[in-house]
Amino acid sequence: MDFTYTETQDMIRDTLSRFLADTYDFETRQKFINSDAGRDPAIWTALAQELGMLGAAFAEEHGGLGGGALENAIVMEELGKVLGIEPYLPTVVIAGGALKAVGGAQADKFIPEIIAGNVIVAFAYAEPQGRYDLANLRTTAKKDGAGYVLSGHKSVVYAAPWATHLLVTARTGGGQRDRDGVSLFLIDANLPGIVRRDYPTVDGSRASEIYFENVAIPADALLGGEGTALPLIEQIVDEATVAVCAEATGVMQKLHEGTLEYTQQRKQFGVPIAKFQVLQHRMVDMFMEVEQARSMTIMGTLKLDLPAAERKAAVSAAKSKVSRGAKFVGQNAVQTHGGIGITQELAIGHYFKRATMIEGQFGSADYHLDRYEQLTLAD
């Protein structure tokens, strides 16, 4: 049992944190998220080519640094600290995770492209009727000659406007909520018949509604078995879930630090408001949530390799705790700032917005407590 980071892991964190301090200050971020493109593509290229950061979680045989989930967590936490909108989660954690799990020619071909920063993948899994149920799918992929024809509507696909590729869940068989019949496809984002409606998200990113209108996709787009991909999808979503827990930890830390700093500057009744015990205790409670989010992220990350039932219970425990902590820290950061906290002017409000979206990402606290109970508290 060992709870320390390796030197390489420390180095990854330091390198990334220095790079982001130089390139990702709040004003710069606001500028590029409000630009037409909604991002600065040079940052993604630099992450890949100058820092080698996109390879941190991949095996050396694919040109990576040999890391895994812990490296993903480190990168996500640092991105959380600067409200990074870089598509690391869908590209590296999710698509990269699926490719690592599947292996073979697809991994050999695609992972080096991810590491080089040549591709951006968006994860098209959610549907309007499906809420957090990964198997609740109306999107279909029908066999057509050697390939498939894809039809359906995917909701709120983060990073889709920037994506070169889409990772899509679809039914190749079974009823709308069956565990069987679910397949996973990695496809070119610009195939004929893919219609996107792009929009900004409340937390500074970009997303799309995606409509697949009889999109012809090749047979080798299939990742994993036809109709048997749900366990793989659950696994990569669990990996993504602890990765957003890591991001949340970074966001929450900044919310807490920003609040500490503000209360020491802001004077009322002739003293800095940090002198008031009621606010001190509130900030201690926020601190405890940040620390527990960090603990739960580590717990969830370390348990990703366990058998599915244990992995899911651990991830759900982590996400339920982090979701609630993110809400608590976000709301209290705004409350402690007072009026200025609900304006666009200070960074704090923007951290609050991201924290709020993380609460529900890959399942709310209630969803994850339900899943936890089903796995561990059968009567």
Partner: protein
Amino acid sequence: MDMEFSPEDLAFQREVREFIAENYPADLRAKQDEGEEMAKEDFLAWHKILYKKGWVAPAWPVEYGGTGWTPTQRFIWSEETARADCIRLLPFGLAMVGPVIYTFGTPEQKAYFLPRILSGEDWWCQGYSEPGSGSDLASLRTTAVRDGDHYIVNGQKTWTTLAQHADWGFFLVRTDKDAKQQEGISFLLIDMKSPGITVRPIITLGGEHEVNEVWLEDVRVPVEQRVYEENKGWTCAKFLLAHERTGIAGVAASKRGVEKVKAIARTELDGDKPLLANPFFKRKIAELEVDLTALEFTELRSLAGANAGKGPGPESSLLKIKGSEIQQRLTELTLEAVGHYGAPYFRGFGEGDNEHPIGPDYAHRAAPTYFNTRKTTIYGGSNEIQRNIIAKMVLGL
């Protein structure tokens, strides 16, 4: 970073399991299962077995009788003793005054007291709180006035846990009335059989005689029973508080506690289903387990820090706050789970009284334990004081 136990750790875990299985006293186990209040000899029985084995003070440095275990081994030890529901060793000697003595004491104090703490020969109590000094401990008014080779101690202490059994007490006393509050305090070891000491019981909500008032009237204490310098007792007190806070997280015991509540909730019926199937009750259990996991991994991270040579710091206040809240929630859920049979008041097996308590075995201590456990957020520095400590020492406010 990984959670795997090494082959050596796994072997150690097996050794510990076997040792407990072979050596834990059967009559003590029976008494625990009956939910009886523990007597002095019950606490000492397990202590003495561990002393013989050399395992009574895992946290102590080896030179003073510690085991030299790695933090992982200590983690395994606390997990295994909790899993087997072993009685908790009393902290006053082993976890409190012992570390103060080996850290600040004279060679003579170490040579005399430490072996007696290890063997269980001396039972210790803690003379800190006073009627007028609770959270504001440094305002304490018990005085020690120098008279040749002795101090003459006068005052009153309160909430003194198990002082009715104690051979020795460690006391905070004021040796300089004119100094600033924290600077005029000394740390004295006092023989509880000294003339002038009176111990009076305080009966708490569950009917237990656990805490006491201790009156000190012209008690003569040899100067060589002062630990560390005169007027520097607050240094020892702060050191001890940090130690007290770490153990207080009680993760392993609470894990065991959760299993017990779940077992009750599988037995108790709610309609035609076990109580554990009730979605509201089940949700409370789930939340408790989640919070306990968060506490466990926070403690493990803190242990990793300790491994790297950092002692228990002010962040251990977090462990105290969350650990004590969880202990309370456990007792609350237990009481809720037992339903009607929380109400009958069982006085314990007195002399010639072997009436079996009313209701299921797991029920009759539920309410007293719930009442009693309200103490955990109050003692060892109340949770509000712990928040002050974090605000000041960690957040820099």
